[in-house]
């Protein structure tokens, strides 16, 4: 009863005002159920109301904006400023503005290009491997089997452990602290790899493997959550149409998982691009293959060159923004509304 009254009321008001046939048409249109709530204001002052709503939205957003400015805007702004100066604890007096000098020097520095190259290799190799392994684990864990809980624990444990403990565990498996049967084997492996690719190659490879080992378990859990969120009928439906698992995987599983895959790639790439902790912890600073992160850390903390170090770490920003934009498109593709 109440619904009927609500729908009828606007019609009566309109004809009472004598707005004519055009209004009557609009009444029919406005009767669409979703619009009931908005009806009263819609014909009179749509714009002023909308403006008030927008203003109120900003008031509600203010605390978040403030927080973002304090914890994100200020540090980034400070870093940008530092990158344009010769700020250094080694220098007496205040920092001088040097313009783009720090950046110009970087671009001319072979060490920078080497670090950038190593960073890209590190990020891409680990991300591809983590994604492939993680997806494999997720698909394995998605179907029930005996002992699934144990396998789940085994896969998730490297991620659930604190980074420090994981690092020590990894370090000891690469380089056993007590004499073990496979210690000589690991030794040969190290000298073999270093012999072919140069000193420090094994250390770098072990960092990559560590990142994959730990990261793939995280990606696996992320993708498993994604798989579980997909209604099983969608897979059943594919089963009715094709006998070939590989085809179903590419045509159904991958597209359905896309938002989760994009999130996984994003987290993996950004953490690898900005990685300092893994490399530093595993190699204790004896770094032959520096990445941007370790290179910047050397410059700033060991070398006291705050300006160039800031410039160096800011070179990552365009990369990260680019990755973010591409992936954001994948998360949330723009809607093509049909009329």
């Amino acid at each position: 009863m109440r619904c009927v009254a609500r729908v009828a009321a606007p019609g009566i008001t309109e004809s009472g005002r004598g707005v004519g046939p055009a209004a009557a048409e609009r009444v029919v249109f406005e009767r669409a159920p979703m619009r009931w709530g908005r009806w009263r204001d819609a014909p009179s002052t749509p714009f002023s109301r909308r403006r008030r709503e927008i203003q109120f939205a900003y008031v509600l957003l203010a605390p978040t904006l403030l927080l973002l400015v304090v914890v994100l805007g200020y540090p980034v702004g400070w870093e940008v400023w530092t990158s344009l100066t010769d700020l250094s604890p080694l220098k007496d007096g205040s920092a001088d503005f040097v313009g783009l000098t720090n950046y110009r020097r970087l671009l001319a520095d072979a060490e920078f290009w080497r670090a950038a190259f190593v960073t890209v290799v590190y990020a891409v190799v680990t991300s591809v491997a983590k994604l492939a392994l993680g997806l494999g684990f997720a698909l394995l864990l998605a179907r029930p089997f005996r002992g699934r809980t144990l396998v789940f624990l085994a896969i998730f444990l490297p991620w659930a452990y604190p980074a420090g403990v994981s690092v020590i565990g990894w370090y000891w498996s690469m380089n056993p602290p007590i004499p073990t049967a496979y210690a000589p084997f690991m030794g040969h492996l190290k000298y073999g790899v270093d012999g072919v690719f140069g000193g420090g190659a094994w250390a770098f490879l072990s960092v990559i493997l560590f990142n994959i080992w730990r990261g793939s378990s995280f990606i696996a859990v992320l993708l498993l959550a994604g798989l579980n969120a997909i209604p099983p009928e969608l897979f059943a439906c594919a089963l009715l149409e094709s006998n070939r698992p590989w085809r179903r995987f590419w045509l159904v599983t991958v597209p359905l998982l896309k938002p989760f895959l994009a999130l996984g790639v994003f987290l993996s790439l950004t953490s690898a691009f900005a990685d300092l902790a893994n490399v530093w912890m595993l190699t204790a600073g004896r770094i032959v293959f520096p990445v941007i992160g370790t290179h910047a850390y050397w410059l700033a903390i060991k070398g006291g060159q705050f300006g160039p170090a800031s410039a160096l770490s800011l070179t990552l920003v365009p990369f990260l923004l680019g990755v973010l934009l591409v992936l954001f498109r994948l998360f949330d593709p723009p809607e093509r509304e049909a009329a």
């Binding site: 209604p231 059943a236 089963l239 009715l240 149409e241 094709s242 006998n243 085809r247 359905l256 049909a338």
Partner: protein
Amino acid sequence: MAQVLMKDLNKKYDEVHAVKDVNLHIRDKEFVVLVGPSGCGKSTTLRMVAGLEEITAGEISIGDRVVNDLPPKDRDIAMVFQNYALYPHMTVYDNMAFGLKMRKFPKLEIQKRVQDAAEILGIQELLKRKPRQLSGGQRQRVAVGRAIVRHPQVFLFDEPLSNLDAKLRVQMRVELKRLHDRLETTAIYVTHDQVEAMTLGDRVVVMKDGWVQQVGEPLELYGHPANRFVAGFIGSPAMNFIEVGIKDGGALWADTAGFRVKIPSDRTDRLKSYVGQPVTIGIRPEDLHPATGGDAPDSTFDAVVEVVEPLGSEILLDVKVGANSMVARVDPTVRVKVHEPIRLALNAERLHFFDKKSEVAI
């Protein structure tokens, strides 16, 4: 077009015996509905026909082929799911064409079939949209369209209307029936809704706890339920059940506190052996009416009105008879008040009797 044959079909999970010795012969072009409360094994049976569940024991054939070991794709069936199961990343057209593309149909043929199906279902305008831009009813149409384009031997429907609101459900029910008349494809339809089962099915299979309770045409199930479960499950409002003793006093009488009714002579043969024993008596709500002078006194009894539900086309009276409750479906012209006594008469020819222990119809 094909018949579907299930022979001693069984499904066992680790601890649950979900489907027990199901034997069904679904004829070519027939629309058969599996109905029952949740957990009765109806969906599992359907999924075994589809090949989505392995068959523990027994045999299923579609057409002349035993399909036990055939993968789902090669069974030549098409299935419609309760949640539509449309791919969110594909347009309506691609969703409908999916099965044909997977089977490598030529592009023109796919186009023609999708257009035809879209026309039948009235969704030509929606072909370029994504599923999330559609309403529930439209999505369900697309899901049905995806099944139609395949021209399968058998349609399998797994509660396809359960996610729709009541009004749309009634409308789609009619459309599905019309569609079946037009396409004449054998269909197996699973639902928990007995009204859907009765309105759609050429024949209805009532299941409970993995067992088939009864197979029959809708009115046959309604008029001659094989047991108390079917009697109570089919029909709304449900059949009234009261426990009575059978007494021999020249004729046979059904007798309990506040209720004493003469049993028609044509039923006495079967009930004779129950004299002195309790049986369950079943009365459909529409077989009760306020007593008038024309009613035989030995088929009337006193009741007290507890609740009045005026539905417009009829009135439902919840009444108390002795210690028993009953629902009577009476004419909308009947005027009664709550807590008032009323004398009811029953249509003794249409009484149902069930063995109290086995619950089988007598």
